[in-house]
Symmetry: D2
Subunit: 345 residues, 4 copies
Amino acid sequence: MIGCVVDGCPPRLALSETDIQPWLDRRRPGQSRFTTQRQEPDQVRILSGVFEGQTTGTPIALVIENIDQRSRDYSDIAARFRPGHADIAYELKYGIRDYRGGGRSSARETAMRVAAGAVARKVLGAIRIRGALVAMGPHTIDRARWDWDAVAENPFFCPDPVAAKEWEALLSEVRKQGSSLGAVIEVQADFVPPGLGAPVYAKLDADIAAALMSINAVKGVEVGDGFAAASLRGEANADEMRMDDGVVAFQSNHAGGVLGGISTGQPVVARFAVKPTSSILSPRLTVDRAGQETEIVTKGRHDPCVGIRAVPVGEAMLACVLADHLLRHRAQNPDAPQTARLPRN
Amino acid sequence: MIGCVVDGCPPRLALSETDIQPWLDRRRPGQSRFTTQRQEPDQVRILSGVFEGQTTGTPIALVIENIDQRSRDYSDIAARFRPGHADIAYELKYGIRDYRGGGRSSARETAMRVAAGAVARKVLGAIRIRGALVAMGPHTIDRARWDWDAVAENPFFCPDPVAAKEWEALLSEVRKQGSSLGAVIEVQADFVPPGLGAPVYAKLDADIAAALMSINAVKGVEVGDGFAAASLRGEANADEMRMDDGVVAFQSNHAGGVLGGISTGQPVVARFAVKPTSSILSPRLTVDRAGQETEIVTKGRHDPCVGIRAVPVGEAMLACVLADHLLRHRAQNPDAPQTARLPRN
Amino acid sequence: MIGCVVDGCPPRLALSETDIQPWLDRRRPGQSRFTTQRQEPDQVRILSGVFEGQTTGTPIALVIENIDQRSRDYSDIAARFRPGHADIAYELKYGIRDYRGGGRSSARETAMRVAAGAVARKVLGAIRIRGALVAMGPHTIDRARWDWDAVAENPFFCPDPVAAKEWEALLSEVRKQGSSLGAVIEVQADFVPPGLGAPVYAKLDADIAAALMSINAVKGVEVGDGFAAASLRGEANADEMRMDDGVVAFQSNHAGGVLGGISTGQPVVARFAVKPTSSILSPRLTVDRAGQETEIVTKGRHDPCVGIRAVPVGEAMLACVLADHLLRHRAQNPDAPQTARLPRN
Amino acid sequence: MIGCVVDGCPPRLALSETDIQPWLDRRRPGQSRFTTQRQEPDQVRILSGVFEGQTTGTPIALVIENIDQRSRDYSDIAARFRPGHADIAYELKYGIRDYRGGGRSSARETAMRVAAGAVARKVLGAIRIRGALVAMGPHTIDRARWDWDAVAENPFFCPDPVAAKEWEALLSEVRKQGSSLGAVIEVQADFVPPGLGAPVYAKLDADIAAALMSINAVKGVEVGDGFAAASLRGEANADEMRMDDGVVAFQSNHAGGVLGGISTGQPVVARFAVKPTSSILSPRLTVDRAGQETEIVTKGRHDPCVGIRAVPVGEAMLACVLADHLLRHRAQNPDAPQTARLPRN
C-alpha cells in the first residue's frame, strides 16, 4: 500500500473518501490511451482523523492498497541503471535499492500528494485551484484560446481545444515509437487572501518552488512571468495599481500574485516543467551494479507524457502549500483582511 | 546593522573575517557604474562561534554595521506603494510597514546570505561553487564562448567576453534612462559527492529551488536543462552512462547532477531568473495607504540590473544548501563513497 | 490499525519484524493479571523501507492491526468526561472527539513508540538501553538490592526482587478495588559516546525530557540525581574525574551522563513519574458535553498500574532520542571519539 | 554581546526596550549579596522588528552588550575541567573550547531567554505568568504561607516570608564557605485558554518540560503534582468537575492544567530543580586537556544559589512555550473558546 498523514488540519471540516476520490480519479492511470495502461483503481481509505464525517483535528492517515501487482520480471532493472532514472542515485547514496515498482521514486508516489491536496482544498475553503497543460514537448498552446472548461474535455488537461486536437495525433505517434515527451504545466489559485507567506524564511514563492520541484521529473519552476520576466524592463514588469471599491486593483499580474514572498490578493500563478520519462523503448548505454558497461531498454507500461498526469499533482502541491500558509498567517495575523482592502483598518 | 547566525558548522575549521570578506566584496554595491552608488563597505564581523581562528562548533553570529546612513527623505514611499515592490504585500499582511531602507525586502538583506555562504564553502571543502550571468534582459550569452576566467574580468560576472562588451553600452543606456533590466544567472557546483538529498522530503533539487527562489526578485528556477527539458524527447534527455576507471562517467548532464532528488556525482547546475527592479524613474500608477489613487517615481541610487549582484548571492545559496545536505548525508550514510564509484563496496 | 513512520534510518542495517516483535511483546497487555486483560497480539508489520532483510535508508512504515475489537458500548464516555483523562481537553480544543478506544490519547498509541524504539536500537549498535520500575505508588525499591536480571523475572520490571514480591499482593488488592496506582520508572543507556546533544538548542537532556514527558500519563522527568540534586551542596553534586587508561573516569554520576546538554560518556540515566490511571471503578464527579453536572464510573479492562507497561515505552523513547542525536553528532563531528578519551586527538 | 531573535511575533503590539528591561533587571546579577557580584547592567537594545513603538511582524532582534569585561585570568580553567561543568562535554564533542566566560554554557546566556520571554508576554495578553522559589537546598517552603506578594519582597523570590527570613542566614553561611546550594522553582500561568498543545507531537507539557530542562543546571521538571502523583491512587489524582456559570470548574488541579498534552483552562503549573553550581571554592579532583590528573578550585564571583536567578528564567521559558502554542492553536482552531465553556458552541 501507499499512504500519507495530513497533520494540523482544522477540526469539524466535512470530510469523507468521496471528497478525495474524484481528485485521485483525475490522476489515475489507464484512463486514456495516452497514459500507462496499468490498472490501479487507487481507492483511498481514511484510517484516522475523521469521525462521523468530520475531521477531528488529529492526524488524517490516508492509504491506497496496491491492486495491480502482477508478478513482474525485474531482472532487467535490478542490476542495471536506467539512464535519467533515480536508480543510480539511490545505489550510490544507500548502497541498496528496492528495484521493484512503486517505490519512492515511482510516479505512483504522487497519488498521495493528490490525496493530501484534496484535504488541503477543504482547508482552503473558497480558494479555487486549477491546473492545465500549456506545452507538450515543443508544442505550446495559444493562450488567446485559453478556455478553462476545455481542460476537462480532452485527455491532456489542455485549455486550448485546438492544441488538444493536434496533440492527440502527436502523442499517438510518440507512444507507438516507445518514446516520450516532456511538458509544461500551469497551476493557478484564485481568491487567495493577501498576506500568505513571509519576508525571508517561509516565502510563499520559495515554498511553492520547493513543492513543485519535489514532484517526480520536474526540472523547472516559475512564478508569474517567471523566466520571461528576466527579459522585461522594469516599466513593463511592475504591476500598476488602481482602486476598485476599496480594494487594490492590480492592472496586470506579472508577479503571479506574490511580492516579497507574500501573496497580494491577486491570483497565484506558477508553472513547472516536466522532463520526458526515461522509460523508453530505445536501447540506451548504461552500466550495472558491478560497474560493467551494458545497455538497457525499459519495457513495460509507461506514460508517453508523464506531464499529463502531473497536472492534478501540481494542483495538489499548490493546495498543500497554500493551506499551510493560510494557517500560519492566521496564527500570526488573525485579524488580517481577506482581500486587498485599503485602508487596512 | 544586519546579521545572521550559522548553526551546526563543524568544529575546528579555520575561519576568520578574511575568509568571508572577499565574497562580500564581490556583491558589494558601488564597485562599477552598473551597480547602485551607495557606499556600503559591508565589513563583516564574527561575534561568536570562532575561537583562536577556528570554529568551535557552536553558532557563528555574523554582523555588518550600516555605514552609509545619510538621512533620507522617505516621504515618497512611506505612504505610497511602489508597483512590483513588496510594500503593498507587507502592508496588507501586517498593517504596519517600516518603509526605511535596509529592511527585510531590501537587497541589502542578501549580504548576509553571501556571508553565510562563505562559511558554507568552508564546510564544503573541495566542492567548488561558481556562478555567472547568462542573460541580461533579452540578451543571452553565446555558450560556445563560455570562459570561467572571463567572469572576474567584467563588471557583469559574464562568462562570454563578447557579450560582456556589448552589455556595457546597453546597460549604460538603461541606467541613463532610469530604467532597469532583468537577468538570468547560472550557478554550478563541481566535485559534489553522490548521495546528497533524499527521495521525497528534502530533495536536493527542491531545496535548491526554494533557496534560489527565496532571493529577492527571483521569479524562476531550473535545474539542469530545466524548462528546455520539457521540449525534449526521452532519448535526448536521458544521460547515458559509461565507466571510467571504476567511476560512472555520464555522457551528458541534462539532469544537472540530480536524479530523484539525489546528487549523482555530476556537477550540480541551476539557473534562476531575476526580474527587473521596480525602482525606476518613470512614473507608475499606484495607490496610497489611505486607498487613494496616485503615482510614484522611485528616486535614489538603484541598480539598473539587480541580477548582476545576484550572482554571488546565488552561489552562496547553493553553497548553503549543499553544506546542509552534506552534513545530513554524512549523518545517515557515513561510509558512502565520495565519487560515483561502482561497485559501491 | 495503528502505525508510525521512522525516517532517516541508515541503510543496510539488518531489520525484520522479528527484531521488533520481542520489544512489543514486553509492552503487550494481557500478560499478567496486573495489566489490562484486553488481548492485543500487537503483531507488527513492516510496510516499507526494508528490502531483502536490510533497511534501504528510506522511511520505514510500521503497522499493527487491531484485533480485539469487540463491539463496545461507549455510551458512558461518549458524552461524559472522565476526570483526569484527556476527554475534556480534546472537547474544548477541537469541539469534536472520537470517544472510541484506541485514539491518540489511548495507551495503545505507545505500542508504536516501542516499535520505533526497536528500530532506534538497531541504529544505536552497542549502546545498551534498559529500564526498570523503581516505585509503585508510595512504595520504592531498595536500590542496594538492584539486580538487572531480576527485571525480567517479575511482572513489574522491578529490579528489587524483594519489592517485587511485596508489590504482587499490593497490586492485587488495588486491582480488586478497581483502583489504580502511579509509578516511577528509571531508564538507563550504557556505552553512550560523549558528544551527543548541543549547548542551547537540542540539548540532550531537554530532548529526553520532552520525549519522556510526551508518554501518556507522565507528569515528571528527571536526569541524574534530578530533584534530589536540588538539596545537595556543590561539593557533593560535582562528579570528580580521574583517568583510567586514557579515558576520563568519573568518580560518580550525579549528572546522569549529561553536562551542559551534552553526553559525557557516562551512562545516561533518567526517571519519569506516571500518574495513576483515571480509569477507576469509584464514581467521580464530572460534567457532560451539554454542560450538565453528572457522575461517571469507568468500567472495562484497565491496568491497575499503567506505569508497569511504561517501562518498555520509556526505554523506546530514550532509544529514539539517542539515535537522533547520534546521527546529528556524526553529521557535525564525524571524527569525534567514541569514548571520553583524552587528549582528544 | 549576546543576542537573540524572536520570529513570528504578531504585528502591531506595542513594544519597546522599557517593556523588556524590567524583566531583565529581575534576573540581573549583583542585586543582593546572594547573587554574583559581577556588574552587568544588561541593557537590552531592540535592533529590528519594531517600528514607531509597534512590532512589525518581522523578526525582533535583541542584543545586550557586555560591559564588565575586566581582563580575567583564565589559565585555571583553560586547560582543566571543572567537575559538574560543561567544560569536559564541550571538549569531548568539539575538540575545541572557548573557555572565556559568557559562552553558551554560561548562565549569562539566560538573559536572552528572559528578554524573549518579555516579548512572549506581550503575545500572551491577559495570560499571567509568575514564579517563585519553593525550595533552597533541603529547605522547602510551607505552602500554607504562600503569598505571591512576598515574592517581590525578599532577595530569593520566595513566596513564604518566614522561610525567606531563615534562608538569609543559611545562604550567607554557604556563600562564606564558598559552597553552593540547589533549588526548586515553581512557575504558574493563569488565565490560559483551553486547547493549547496537541495529542502526540507538540504536547504542551512535553514542550514545557524541554523548555525548562534546557535552562542551565536544571536536572528535573514536573507538571502539576509531578513525581508526587506517582504515589497517589487514581481516586485522589483525578480532578473532578462541576459547572460554574457555563464553565467547567475543576475541583482540584493535580494535573497542573494539562491533560493529554492539551491545556484545560486551569492554571498551568510546573516545577524544576536546579543543581548547586559547580563553581565552588573547595578543591575538586579533575583532569586536564592532556589527560593528566589534577585538582581545581573555581575562584571568581559566583552565585551561591543559581536557582534564585532561575526564577525569572523559568517564567520566561513558560511564556515562550505558551506564546508558541497560542499561535499554533489559533492557526488550527481560530474559533475555539477562550475559557472552558460547555457546551462548546
